[in-house]
Symmetry: C2
Subunit: 477 residues, 2 copies
């Protein structure tokens, strides 16, 4: 049995979801707070998840032809101001550098909140001819947005992310790349993070500052709130015109490039916590877990136990990411810690097990315990990890389906959001006025116009005028 003390130190989800979340990020040792308000330390357990996200996603990017680069972290004010919508969106929330060493700067610079303007400034010189296209660049870095309210992973003043920035010869190629990267994001979330997502397009009100179209993947958290988990933007030639990015085409005429950008952030770690976690702490999908298997020796002072446990660890390490806990804590405490940290499988091995040539394995998500013969352990763990990955996705999908509702008129719409939490599918006329009304009255926003449209009704759920699109609505992080 797991020791109660550690588990009792976190609030239960049902009691206070927000407090549960805060407790888990601290007790699972993912982050620490700092003297810099709104900025956090990513501790080893938290950063290791990001390293796995990074390496998996980076390999998926490179398969589609992405090349990594690194651009400066500073943006001169004049550069930020070149694209009107973009600067309006970001200027209120950037950090300004005004002094270098002991002297004031001639022109102040912001710390990048995102790097469209820098990439444009770079592409302006780097792109001359159709032969230079497409440019499919990405960078892994940190960005800064001076938020008033912050929460670990979900909203912090500095966060880690990747930002892809591409330039193409035609509008069609830009649109294709925008959708291609959204699909990469969705595939990554579903197959690696075991987190189902709704793919769709943002309304004009919710799109990125400077974009022609923003596409998004939206996930549902355990408390019924939505989390925007990745976005992909098609800029058309708006930035190209503002920055003068032209190429000589095959027909010898000058044309503007068409651009995209797309990003995912450490916010994904928040998503993993809120989609899979439980009252004992974190539950990590096997494919992203820094440690997949933890070996816990029972009565480890008895002769042969530690040797056997280490032998299992070495053997399993050939295929899986394995650790052993041979500290002097009690087994119960070790179980609790392993559960808090979300390690998918624990292996218990004691003197009696060794005698019988077996051990016990325990799945983190279901807590199912299975006796396994030692010579079948390797294969069995592979099976259990695969099954766990699959069932975690299925459970998350079932949870989302159970918390996705349909409203065909405003009364229904209001009733659902008063009584329940989740996604609500409803028809919309396409007017921003209705989005504003809905936000004001129900405190919910349009999450996306999903690619899979349904005709739930012919009238807008808000104003009753003819409907144009089905929209997912929800309260969002």
């Amino acid at each position: 049995m797991a020791d109660k003390k550690l588990v009792e130190s976190i609030t239960s989800m049902g009691e206070d979801f927000a407090q549960w979340y805060t407790d888990v990020v601290k007790k699972a040792e993912l982050i620490d707070y700092t003297s810099v308000k709104g900025c956090m330390v990513l501790k080893p357990a938290g950063y290791a998840i990001w390293e796995n996200i990074q390496s998996t996603l980076d390999a998926m990017f490179k398969e589609t032809g992405v090349q990594n680069v690194y651009l400066p972290m500073f943006i001169p004010e004049s550069l930020l101001q070149k694209e009107k919508d973009h600067v309006e969106g970001f200027a209120p929330e950037v950090a300004w550098v005004t002094h270098g060493g002991l002297e004031p700067l001639q022109e102040r610079m912001c710390v990048r909140p995102t790097s469209e303007t820098l990439f444009c400034d770079f592409y302006k010189n780097d792109i001359q001819s159709y032969r230079d296209l497409p440019k499919v660049y990405n960078q892994w870095c940190s960005v800064v947005r001076w938020e008033k309210e912050t929460r670990p992973f979900l909203r912090s003043r500095e966060f880690l992310w990747q930002e892809g920035h591409t330039a193409h010869a035609t509008a069609q190629q830009a649109e294709e790349r925008t959708i291609q990267m959204l699909n990469v994001y969705a595939k990554f979330c579903e197959e690696v993070l075991a987190m189902p997502v709704i793919k769709g397009r943002k309304t004009d009100k919710e799109k990125f500052a400077g974009a022609e179209a923003t596409y998004t993947i939206e996930a549902l958290m355990h408390d019924g709130k939505a989390l925007q988990s990745g976005t992909s933007h098609n800029f058309g030639d708006g930035f190209a015109k503002a920055f003068g990015i032209q190429y000589t085409d095959k027909d010898n005429t000058l044309k503007y490039v068409h651009q995209t950008s797309w990003g995912m952030t450490t916010r994904l770690i928040g998503a993993i916590i809120m989609v899979h976690g439980d009252d004992s702490g974190l539950v990590l999908p096997p494919r992203i877990a820094p440690t997949q298997v933890i070996v816990i020796p029972i009565q480890q002072k008895k002769e042969g136990v530690l040797d056997k446990a280490n032998e299992l660890k070495d053997e399993l390490s050939k295929k899986y990411r394995v650790k052993i806990d041979d500290s002097d804590k009690t087994p119960g405490w070790k179980f609790s810690e392993a559960e808090m940290r979300g390690i998918p499988v624990r292996v218990e091995i004691g003197p009696k097990d060794i005698e019988a040539g077996k051990c016990v394995i325990c799945r983190r998500d279901t807590r199912e315990k299975i006796e396994v013969a030692l010579d079948e352990l390797d294969a069995k763990i592979g099976e259990v990890l695969d099954l766990m990955q699959k069932e975690m996705l299925e459970r998350a999908r079932a949870h989302r389906e159970e918390h996705t509702y349909v409203a065909t008129n405003f009364e229904e719409f209001e009733k659902i959001f008063t009584e329940k939490a989740g996604f609500v599918k409803a028809m919309w006329c396409g007017e921003e006025e209705c989005e504003n009304t809905i936000k004001e009255k129900l405190s919910v926003t349009s999450r996306c116009m999903p690619f899979e449209q349904e005709e739930l009704a012919d009238k807008c759920v808000c104003c009753g005028k003819p409907a144009k699109k089905m929209v997912y609505w929800g309260k969002a992080y």
Copy 2:
């Protein structure tokens, strides 16, 4: 033969080494300049080298028990000021953030020039007991130092690096870790970058701001100038006392921790260029080269040539990092480009080769051409890459030996630095005054007191007083 045009576009090393360097970083497409003075774009070819440095070094770190973390990029001014020597060293060259969004900050913050103070602030809470020690953390990030004069890779206002920060129970453990990481750096430089280094200790004048001891690896560039290539610092308990980082030891008493830090930067890419490059451009050591082999089809429009070239590429890709250049440029131009980019081996394959069941491979460093039977190509390339890696190190070592001189009195010392460029080994009394005199008269600095000491003379090369240490002196980047 390589096409002359591209090669002629760079200045020769002998004519103007500084211009040659600048030409290579641009023509090999490693970097681009930006609108942000002193900051550069790392283009795909440059960033890919950094990615390889990062992944190789990171694996070496992890073998020694290092864990990665991420700390904020901002340091509040009051935090930077806690350690007196440290703030004096860095305050004159930091960038200051004074505004967040539209409002002035209550306390200004600098963008990290290095993160000792942040790690101390973090460790202060994270370390309570001897059980929490050692902490062996590292982060990969960018830092900012507001330099007046900048050069790509060697000195820029923002650069990428890793910074390790550790905390230990005893002074001895801290010293051991400091030396251990210096050894990792030296091994990495020699075995992976094919760059021999001198390991030693910095004099007090040259040590890191706030350190008790700074250890360094020093390499000699092709022009005879020295490059500090990595440093490892032992802080003793100086920072711990300034920040109050104490732990309860086994004997139940409160003790201060002992700390270290160590870093390597994108400057290593500058070192690779200046140690191995030649008048045709970059020469990359096989182990760090993003592309190790480039297949160049000859008369590629003839039937079967492209197919065969692609077949070779696919086959070789199982073991090596391989690209094919099937663009419509001439073979000569492709050769020049591959040379400029420093790709270790090129494979030429044309109709006659295919008929004869062979191809030609050419080594980048020696330009040696070898005919190889196609069924032996795979093994032969492995051999050539290994040999090239080995010989590049040997050549660099021979170059360093040829440019390392001995001076036993000031006249010799002055004569060498007037007529030649390189390292000079000479005895030193241990007084900073002599270092100052030498710097003033000869414009050279003490690079390090090497671990391998020799007794060249019994008097200081400068003042003639009894000598205490042998020192490597040189002009440095």
